[in-house]
């Protein structure tokens, strides 16, 4: 539905059109200081004054408006209060300053031109004065203050726009997220509360998708030279750990935050860890099996799990002729392995043999493993969440009544699962050890990534946007 139609319907159904009616809408509204010198009850002005509700950062505010021809104008003081902007009367003008002091706007009554940070812009309709109240166009004023006007209300702080991924939380509750579509990849810290400025945490592209430490204070990443770094999730400052330059992928922290495990080598053939304090690397596994990935460490730091991505087998003759070329893909695909890291001489144990796609393996608190299983060969089939028992001998379906697309196990041990429900919506659930699901959120949009804060707040990536869930409602932190 077009915005204009949505708008018309909403206005028709919800617009508070009289001063008297404003009282009933006031209950849920954010208090706003009375407009200067306004006397709405007995106005003799040319234009009828309306009290209207405006959503600002999700809260209702009352703003006085007048209709001038086809243009609705808004009381500048009410508007300033609603977006927490400062307002001062100058010599013949009104000066607005946004709450962070980034933008200064000068407005003159009955003059179309306004000054925004020293530059001239034009209103379509000049500000009007009625009963000592100055009324201005909404969009131009909101934009001038660095706020954002949408079809559903005002964001007092412009949201970031773009394609985002790799969400996580730092220990201050900020959402750490990578912006993928700028000149370079950038990591931002977004405030979960609307109306507060966002921060570029780092423009170091290697830090995109960093592994977050258990205390949510550090992100770990390897750069293009294979060197490992940790960076402070509060200020973006990075420090190198060790000097090894071999290829490192799939970084993951130990539960105590003292070690970082990783897949190592040009062919991702080894598993090692580095001690954060001294940079010493310890090799855990070098079995010459290539193409390992998705490394996981259990809560006791005694067991690891990983995937081995088995390749197809191509054969040809010594002259590489096309006729001789054959490829056998029947054994290709990912298999889950585990390794006891405490018992000396322990060998990796293959836990799966099926040909389904195996994604996002994670340890549960009890030491069992879950992973998303999807079988492209089963046209009518749906994805499920498989559970491999602690001893590795039994694999069962933990969730199979939704089309499971992703799973996350939080630092606190909660299992979060997302999947497409029978009604076509994507649901995000907390799942118990027995498979009981509690829905936390659902949306008609896709959900590609999920993260959970230490206080249980949920953030997800939906259509490339960052959405934070409050109650069971999603608020788009980006556009």
């Amino acid at each position: 539905m077009r915005n204009s139609k949505v708008f018309s319907m909403l206005v028709a159904s919800a617009l508070v059109t009289t001063v008297a009616a404003a009282g009933s809408a006031q209950a849920a509204a954010k208090p706003v200081k009375p407009s200067q010198t306004v006397a709405p009850a007995k106005t003799t002005a040319k234009f009828k004054v309306l009290n209207s509700n405006v959503q600002v950062d999700g809260q209702n505010s009352i703003v006085k408006t007048i209709q001038v021809g086809t243009e609705k104008l808004y009381a500048v003081r009410d508007l300033a209060d609603a977006v927490s902007a400062g307002i001062q009367l100058g010599k013949g003008d009104i000066q607005l300053t946004d709450s962070h002091g980034y933008h200064t706007v000068s407005i003159r009554p009955n003059v179309k031109t306004l000054q925004v940070d020293g530059a001239s812009q034009d209103y379509t309709t000049a500000p009007k004065v009625q009963d000592g109240v100055v009324y201005v166009e909404l969009e131009a004023t909101i934009n001038a203050l660095g706020a954002e006007l949408t079809s559903t209300g005002i964001y007092s702080q412009q949201r970031l726009e773009g394609d985002f991924s790799s969400p996580s939380f730092n220990d201050q509750g900020q959402v750490i997220v990578t912006k993928n579509d700028g000149d370079a990849l950038q990591v931002f810290a977004l405030n979960a509360a609307l109306g507060t400025p966002n921060q570029i945490l780092t423009s170091n592209e290697s830090a995109a998708g960093a592994a977050i430490s258990p205390d949510r204070k550090w992100g770990a990443f390897a750069n293009e030279s294979g060197q490992l770094f940790v960076y402070d999730l509060a200020n973006g400052l990075a420090k190198q750990v060790g000097a090894d330059s071999s290829t490192k992928t799939d970084l993951i922290w130990s539960a105590d935050g003292k070690k970082i495990y990783f897949i190592q080598g040009d062919k991702q053939e080894k598993i090692s860890y580095i001690t954060v304090e001294d940079g010493k690397i310890t090799e855990l596994l070098a079995d010459k099996v290539e193409n390992k990935s998705d490394l996981q460490v259990d809560a006791t730091d005694k067991k690891i799990a990983y995937l081995v991505n088995v390749t197809g087998v191509a054969k040809n003759d010594a002259d590489s002729t096309e006729d001789s070329l054959t490829i056998d893909y029947t054994g290709a695909g990912a298999q889950v392995y585990s390794l006891d890291t405490v018992t000396k001489g322990a060998k990796p144990v293959q836990l799966t043999k099926t040909t389904d796609n195996k994604l996002l393996p994670s340890f549960l608190s009890d030491g069992s493993l879950v992973y998303v299983s999807a079988d492209p060969d089963d046209k009518a089939g749906i994805g499920s969440l498989k559970n491999i028992s602690v001893d590795g001998t039994k694999t069962t379906d933990l969730v199979k009544d939704i089309d499971v697309t992703l799973d996350v196990v939080t630092r606190e041990g909660k299992l979060i699962v997302a999947g497409i429900k029978a009604d076509g919506k994507t649901g995000v659930f907390e799942v118990s050890a027995t498979g009981t699901k509690t829905e936390l959120y659902n949306t008609a949009d896709d959900v590609s990534e999920v993260a959970v804060s230490k206080d249980g707040k949920l953030v997800l990536i939906s259509g490339g946007k960052v959405v934070i869930v409050q109650g069971n409602k999603g608020i788009e932190l980006t556009k």
């Binding site: 999700g58 330059s245 959405v467």
Partner: protein
């Protein structure tokens, strides 16, 4: 857009949030793509393909991606035979290159920049070789390290087998089109980048060539080419010339899941992050 159309003056508490019955996304939903993608060819590009497959499948769990490596020429050959959807190749196989005719009807999709390096066993006391010296060594005219500034020891030439993209590029760029001559002694052919690394690392006085990504660890070292060190920076700066694009060859323009996968590999998100961590160079770096 007029401002009145953008603002809703509502007393509906939930109006600012995406409700449970929120509007549908115009983007293709995660998981809506399904199908099978098979990739064969360059062993140099295999780690990249596997990493991209893993990330792509997280967004699209119902896409099965199976990959294999057997040398670049087998990539477009497999596409030609219809036994792979994507042929990973270290050269543009839709055009003629020395030793190989163009594969007609195939489209070359750039996915990475691959630097190649001349490598020697750590026992070799030479740190730089010129084009002429390399041509002499690989053609068999220079057989002793003392003739290029090293110790008095026979040179052991290790080369990739016919059909290797690394070999095609090395001959074209490091040897300026020169030959690699088969010899009865002090000569060995290997079938993959990994085998090359192992062979040069374990053979005293040996020389070979390899993707730069493999030059770490092991008892081998990269040597400069005409005085320029083989580094990603020097490739990007244009001073180091022994590199090529890596391509995904497809039969005609890619479609469906194959197109979506190639789009992902070419995306900024993959190119500037995972691809670089695997020590490839993003294609956008070469502008």
């Amino acid at each position: 857009m007029k401002l009145v159309k953008k603002l809703s003056l509502v007393a509906v508490a939930a109006a600012f949030v995406i409700s449970s019955a929120g509007v549908g996304s115009t983007a293709q939903a995660a998981g809506s793509i399904s199908g099978k993608i098979t990739i064969n060819g360059s062993t140099a590009l295999l780690p990249l393909s596997l990493q991209a497959a893993k990330e792509f499948q997280r967004l699209n769990p119902k896409v099965k991606i199976a990959a294999s490596g057997k040398g670049s020429v087998t990539g477009p050959q497999a596409v030609n035979k219809g036994i792979a959807d994507i042929g990973a190749c270290d050269w543009d196989a839709s055009t003629d290159v020395p030793g190989f005719k163009a594969f007609s009807g195939q489209v070359a999709n750039k996915v990475a920049v691959i630097p190649f390096a001349t490598v020697v066993n750590k026992s070799v006391g030479v740190d730089n070789l010129t084009t002429d010296q390399l041509k002499g060594i690989f053609s068999g005219k220079i057989t002793n390290w003392k003739d290029v500034g090293g110790a008095n020891a026979d040179i052991v030439v290790i080369t990739r087998a016919f059909g290797s993209g690394t070999r095609v590029n090395y001959q074209a760029k490091a040897l300026a089109g020169g030959d690699i001559t088969k010899k009865d002694k002090n000569y060995k052919e290997v079938g993959s980048s990994g085998d090359m690394k192992t062979a040069v690392s374990t053979t005293p006085n040996s020389i070979g060539y390899i993707d730069l990504v493999y030059v770490s660890g092991g008892d081998l070292k990269a040597v400069s080419f005409n005085g320029v060190a083989p580094t990603a920076d020097n490739v990007v700066k244009g001073t180091y010339k022994v590199w090529s694009y890596g391509y995904y060859m497809t039969k005609g323009q890619p479609t469906g899941a194959t197109k979506a996968f190639i789009d992902y590999v070419q995306s900024k998100k993959f190119q500037d992050s995972s691809l670089k961590k695997l020590k490839f160079i993003p294609i956008s770096s070469m502008k």
